[in-house]
């Protein structure tokens, strides 16, 4: 269970998060939507303790991440897998080394067991036989799959996805959505997806939250969000810009 209480974060004079509060139950799939640059990635990084803030609290299974030092956070992060916006694969390593990284660092398994787990994880993301390739040889969609394999290989309880379908063509994006659903179903993980892709939000989310002006603006089931008459939500869902507002 993840609980966020009145989280605030500023970079210099710019206030990015301005009192965000929500609760995500174990096993739930939640999608957080919001405009580009509204602080979705920043929020996601707070959930896993990559960023911390003095104001507000983030509790993971009752433990307050804000009070921990980096070493204590490492222990909590065993529960998490995270897929980064740009996949963030280690470019000096092969795919197999990337996927097996966490297992090797733990040092509990033999090389044969690790190789087997790497194979299983790559099968799960439907990318068998790319073990010896370097990340630079892969396409965007393949990189995201490898990133996902790396995040789930050690069987985390919570998986965070930062814009998993952004920058991919609709077919590949759809296959990534299917993959997220499959991971969620098979591994019984809590899923948190950050995106501005409404198609994918509707498909993945049991619950959708909208981040707007540093706060959670609305929370609801996909149907509620899509049928909402609220102008801000409605415009976002249908992708209509407001002529009275400046966009840049």
């Amino acid at each position: 269970m993840i609980e966020v209480r009145d989280l605030k974060k500023s970079f210099g004079p710019q206030r990015v998060l301005d009192g965000v509060s929500f609760r995500i139950e174990t096993g739930e799939s939640v999608v957080i939507i919001g405009r580009s640059g509204c602080g979705k990635s920043i929020l996601l990084k707070h959930l896993i303790g990559l960023l911390t803030s003095e104001e507000g609290e983030v509790l993971v299974d009752g433990e307050n991440l804000g009070r921990m030092n980096e070493r204590q956070l490492l222990r909590v992060r065993h529960k998490f897998g995270m897929l980064f916006q740009g996949a963030a694969l280690f470019d000096s390593m092969t795919v197999a080394e990337n996927v097996g990284f966490a297992l090797r660092r733990l040092g509990k398994l033999t090389e044969a067991e690790i190789a087997k787990k790497i194979g299983e994880a790559l099968d799960m993301v439907e990318l068998p036989g790319v073990e010896e390739k370097k990340p630079s040889e892969l396409s965007g969609g393949m990189r995201k799959r490898v990133g996902l394999a790396r995040a789930i290989v050690y069987q985390p309880e919570i998986v965070l996805y930062d814009e998993p379908t952004t920058g991919l063509d609709p077919i590949v994006a759809d296959s990534i959505d299917q993959l997220i659903l499959r991971v969620c179903e098979r591994l019984k993980v809590t899923t948190v997806v950050v995106t501005h892709d409404m198609r994918s939000a509707r498909r993945i989310g049991q619950r959708i939250m909208m981040l707007h002006r540093g706060k959670i603006y609305v929370t609801g089931t996909p149907d509620e969000i899509f049928r909402s008459q609220d102008p801000v939500v409605n415009r976002f869902v249908n992708g209509i810009s407001d002529p009275k507002e400046l966009y840049f």
Binding site: K45, I48, L50, E70, R71, L73, L74, R75, R77, H78, F80, G81, M82, F84, Q85, G86, A88, L89, F90, D91, F101, A102, R105, L106, G107, R150, A151
Partner: protein
């Protein structure tokens, strides 16, 4: 003026504080965590083996030019045979460690800052942290340890080659008597000189690695950030080496004379 100088001093002190924390974390990790031998050996190869040509050329030519210049001056007062003693003392305690460290800073410090900086801007360092790996354990410790091992060895090579090259030059080209030249060198070079050089090169190795890693890990956004981190790593480590060299010479001389 006042505002800017205050800000500058505040930022400078903050940087110093963060470097201190990084050192503390690295030393703590060095003694409490398992070392990954593969990374250590890779870094040793990169820092030690691959820096050899640069360091050896620096050592040889510095030794020769020092020998020639000393000879030109000493010849006027008929002290030809003391030439190599000057070369060996200055190479062992000053030029060897400083020039080796400066060359390593240019080659290795820059590479560390660029590599870690790129990892930072492409979120690879964040990815490491999500995979329950402390960046200091995985990235800084192998680099720091290898630099502390490799720089003194490179330093020894540079000194030996510098003195050797000076000797060959003195005997073959300048026509100094080989026996007196060699004996005088042994007579006037004392253990303290060598010791100062060795201690310095350990410290300089640490400086290059720590500043290189710090600049990489605190790199700003984008390609510009990486570029700046690289430049700053070289500039700051070179200046730190030159300044600390002065204080080390003064304090180590005093300290070792008590022993």
């Amino acid at each position: 003026m006042n505002f800017f100088s205050n800000k500058w001093i505040a930022e400078w002190l903050q940087g110093l504080g963060r470097i201190t924390l990084l050192c503390q974390e690295a030393v703590h990790s060095l003694f409490t965590r398992k070392i990954t031998w593969r990374d250590l050996i890779y870094q040793l190869h990169f820092i030690g083996v691959k820096s050899q040509s640069v360091v050896l050329i620096t050592g040889a030519f510095t030794g020769m030019v020092l020998c020639a210049q000393t000879y030109f001056q000493f010849h006027k007062v008929r002290m030809d045979t003391a030439t190599l003693a000057v070369v060996s003392v200055s190479m062992a305690s000053e030029l060897g460690p400083v020039l080796t460290a400066l060359m390593v800073a240019g080659r290795v410090g820059a590479a560390m800052a660029a590599e870690l900086g790129t990892m930072k801007v492409t979120e690879q360092i964040d990815a490491l942290r999500t995979l329950a790996t402390h960046p200091v354990d995985y990235l800084v410790v192998p680099r720091l340890l290898s630099a502390i091992i490799a720089v003194p060895l490179l330093n020894a090579e540079a000194i030996a080659l510098g003195i050797g090259a000076g000797y060959v030059l003195g005997v073959s080209l300048l026509g100094i008597d080989p026996t007196y030249l060699w004996q005088n060198m042994l007579k006037y070079t004392v253990a303290t000189d060598v010791m100062i050089g060795v201690i310095k090169s350990f410290i300089f190795g640490g400086i290059v690695a720590v500043i290189g890693c710090y600049k990489g890990m605190s790199c700003g956004e984008g390609a510009e950030g990486v570029g700046r981190a690289t430049t700053e790593a070289v500039v700051y480590s070179s200046i730190t080496i030159l300044i600390s060299n002065f204080f080390l010479t003064i304090s180590l001389g005093e300290l070792l004379s008590y022993l």
